[in-house]
């Protein structure tokens, strides 16, 4: 089964490795902690801040410790890389927020605690994940309902802009339901496709030169997915809509094995892009800016131009934390966190972040490859794909490889909803990685 998997994914966990898993996780977490500490100390010295500003490092360390202890106890056979990689990016995000918008540090740190709590909660739930699989329609529809409520009574914490957030009632805490929908849609797709994928492969119809699964199987999933996308488009959360589209296509391809579906989907995506370009001013503007930002560098394309300029300013070695000027880019802390990394940590730092995310994604795909049940495989793959494409979209946007989509860089960007979702994804991947090999 593992014969054709790339080497990175085949590092099978034998007995010795298993005993070493906890040790490896501790070592990696310690390294991540050192990185976070070093950056924070540098920031305090460079900016002349008070030493008390080190407290987020302590909170992070407690979260890492709590997570590690819980994982040791509950999931001894887990993938030892996932949690440290996620915590590494989270810590980096804390550095970044403390550097870019110090006043948000407290809130972001609180969300790290909440995220860790969510991860622990996922560990506490039954590990066969049947609770997720069985009630797929319930989950998805409740997610959609939540999103529907947002359309009716949503707000934007910054005052203007699209109303994507729900006010949660206590303090000034907001949650973005489309983040939750990311997980719920993947769960739904994984569950549905897992149940039907055998038939999808067998029962096909000819469509010109291609064979595609019978509409009888595709119908419900297309319907549910369509509702999601329509609601998101309605809400003008086009980045999330695009993300759902791509992840859906990928999961459909994984389940059906039909390259035709994939190609057709890509064509559909391009068509959808053209339609969106014609229908939505926002999309048209984003695409125009992406295609040629230079004439409007001082107005519409300001963010994008300043973003690549930040990357240029960082060069290979970077300016050093607190030494660059990434705050020139409007809302750098959410959409352009990657540009800030490029400026202050340079090409080397950006590559480190990129490799970390890629490693996280590849480990997720490896979990999918090693999974024994189609549902678990598809779920692991779907969640990894979410992380992968979300990262690719925003990094591509920052580097002007793609039009800018307003999605966050997982774990790193400012934003509680996104952080919480990312932690739940990692929690689920951790549970999926302990696929009976260690625990059984």
């Amino acid at each position: 089964m593992t014969a054709s998997i790339p080497a990175l994914m085949t590092a099978n966990l034998d007995g010795d490795a298993l005993r070493q898993a906890g040790w490896r996780e501790r070592l990696l977490l310690a390294l991540a902690g050192l990185f976070l500490l070093a950056n924070h100390v540098t920031l305090i010295v460079a900016d002349g801040r008070r030493w008390a500003a080190l407290w987020p490092v302590g909170v992070w360390a407690l979260c890492a410790l709590a997570g590690h202890v819980a994982l040791e106890r509950v999931l001894p056979g887990r993938d030892p890389l996932l949690f440290p990689l996620a915590m590494f990016l989270t810590g980096w995000g804390l550095n970044l927020i403390a550097r870019l918008v110090p006043s948000y540090t407290g809130r972001q740190t609180a969300w790290v605690v909440v995220g860790t709590g969510a991860l622990l909660a996922v560990l506490a739930l039954p590990r066969d994940l049947r609770w997720l699989r069985r009630y797929r329609y319930t989950w998805l529809i409740s997610g959609l309902v939540l999103l529907g409520i947002t359309i009716l009574v949503g707000e934007n914490p910054s005052g203007g802009g699209p109303r994507l957030w729900l006010w949660l009632g206590f303090g000034r805490v907001y949650y973005q339901p489309s983040e939750l929908l990311k997980i719920l849609l993947v769960v739904f797709l994984a569950s549905y496709l897992a149940e039907h994928h055998r038939y999808m492969r067998a029962d096909t119809v000819r469509l010109g030169m291609w064979r595609v699964p019978s509409p009888a199987f595709l119908g419900p999933v297309l319907l549910m997915w369509g509702i999601c996308v329509i609601v998101l488009v309605w809400q003008r959360d086009l980045g999330a809509a695009a993300l759902f589209f791509v992840v859906f296509m990928m999961m459909l391809y994984l389940a059906s094995g039909q390259a035709a579906l994939f190609i057709g989907g890509t064509i559909l995506l391009l068509l959808a892009g053209v339609v969106a370009y014609l229908l939505f001013d926002v999309v048209a503007l984003r695409v125009d800016i992406w295609w040629n930002p230079w004439p409007t560098a001082d107005s519409d394309a300001y963010q994008v131009v300043q973003s690549v300029m930040a990357v240029a300013a960082g060069g290979v070695l970077g300016e050093g934390i607190g030494q660059g000027a990434p705050t020139i880019i409007p809302v750098v802390h959410s959409d352009f966190a990657f540009a800030a990394i490029c400026e202050e940590w340079g090409l080397l730092g950006a590559l480190a972040a990129l490799v970390t995310i890629a490693a996280l994604v590849v480990r997720g795909m490896r979990i999918a490859a090693l999974a024994r049940q189609p549902f678990r495989a598809l779920l692991a793959a779907g969640l990894s794909l979410m992380l992968a494409f979300q990262s690719l979209f925003i990094m591509g946007g920052v580097l002007r490889l793609l039009p800018l989509t307003g999605v966050t860089l997982p774990f790193v960007s400012y934003g509680g909803s996104s952080l919480l979702t990312s932690f739940v994804i990692v929690g689920l991947l951790l549970v999926l990685s302990d696929d009976g090999r260690g625990a059984a």
Binding site: M1, S4, I5, P6, M9, H197, M250, Y253, L254, A255, G257, A297, D298, V305, Q306, V308, M309, V311, A312, A313, G314, G315, V316, L317, E319, G320, Q323, G324, A325, I328, C342, G346, L347, A350, L351, L354, I357, A358, V361, V362, M365, A368, A369, P374, A377, L378, A381, L385, A388, L392, M395, G396, L399, R400, L401
Partner: protein, 486 residues
Amino acid sequence: MITELNRVTVGLLVAFLVVTAGLVYWSVVQADDLLAREDNLRSVIAEQRIQRGAIFDRDGERLAYSQAQANGVMQRIYPYPEASGVVGYYSFTYGAAGLEAAFDEELRGDDLRDDWGRFVDETLHRTQQGSDIRSTVDLDVQRAAAAALGDQSGAVVVVHVPSGRVLAMVSQPGYDPNLVETDWDALTEHEDTSPLLNRVTLGLYQPGGALYTVMLAAILASYPDLDEAGGYVLNGDVPDAQAPVMVNSLTLTCLDRVTDRPLTLAEAYSYGCPGPFAAVLGQTVTPDRLWERFGAVGLLEAPALAGFETVAGDRPDPLTDATPPETLIAAAVGQSDLTVTPLHMVEIAAAIANRGNAVPLHIVDAVRQPGAADWEAIQIPALQPALLREDVAEAVRLTMLQAAALSPTVAQARRQNLVLYGHSALAFGGPDATPYAWFVGFVDQSEGSAVEAVAVVVVIEGEPDAGRAADVAGAAFEAAVYSNME
């Protein structure tokens, strides 16, 4: 499903590689081009953090310095707005003027680092520090001259002879360099009358009677030996010396009220009578010789003042025998197209005080590198070309002494027991013949054979009383001489 998973994974890795390529493209390949863009605020921020050197006056008073604000941006502070004619301004938005512009490289410290030093400093995020500069300007003289000018528009320039040190350079209306950014629109509304125009170095004025000094020198220079002819030339009666001169619908008369009697050339010069100068062309001085004299005293080119922007006056066609007589007369009495700056005139005044030799005009004499305790003197070019023949300069000098004695207008520049040499004049400029009051002169303090003097040129716009200019000059003389004596 494994095959599909592998394909998708490989596809994702390829996508990450593409992102890597994008990273390298922007951070390495395109970096220099991008950072050179004008909308790169990083260069503005870097600019704002430069610790610009301070500007001192000759007594160590700070005329301009930089102070760090909480956000790391350096703020430029000018304690004495009345020194704006010397110091100029420095703005992140609008650039620089005055000393701030002339010595920008030293003040920024750009001259202290080579490419490697710059690379090291940038990598270590060291603040760029510039050198301090020490001006030759004396704040006391500057303020006295500005105060004497009051709220009138015009210019005062005070130069020490023979060193060529500029002791004061007042241009009015002045401005507060601290407020240049906020007041920019108002300051630049009218280009010709803007307070930002340095009237000493860039103000082009009709010379009018102020040109008589040059004319007198030209007449004297046409005699090869003044020891023989000087007395006769200066003290022989000139026919119709008091006669008014008509030029371009203007009627020019003597500056001072004179009883109806024959005047000598020296008297006519002293009282500011145009007659002898209007009549001289074609008699003792030919038009092309006069044009040569204008050139010899530097009126036809821009004077040099270390780094300051200066202008040559508007330059009409050269005077020749073919030039129409009315143009020649206008040229002889300073009402032609030829305009001059106060800097031109002070060069001439200083040369007359300095036995005909030009003085090396300069306004900064030392630089102090960041962290250094001692000032390093700037090399001042010692070469002093002769503007006037020594005997011509001496004859003009004595005539100016006589003018100070004879003319009640010139006498208004007299202070205490200073030995005054001077000449007052009016000029009429523009379509509505706006009067400009001029004073050109110096006080001589030579002891023994060494020359020691202070030369002053004053011009006041819209002032019909030439005595006002002399009075302002008097205030400048007083401040210059007595603040130098301590």
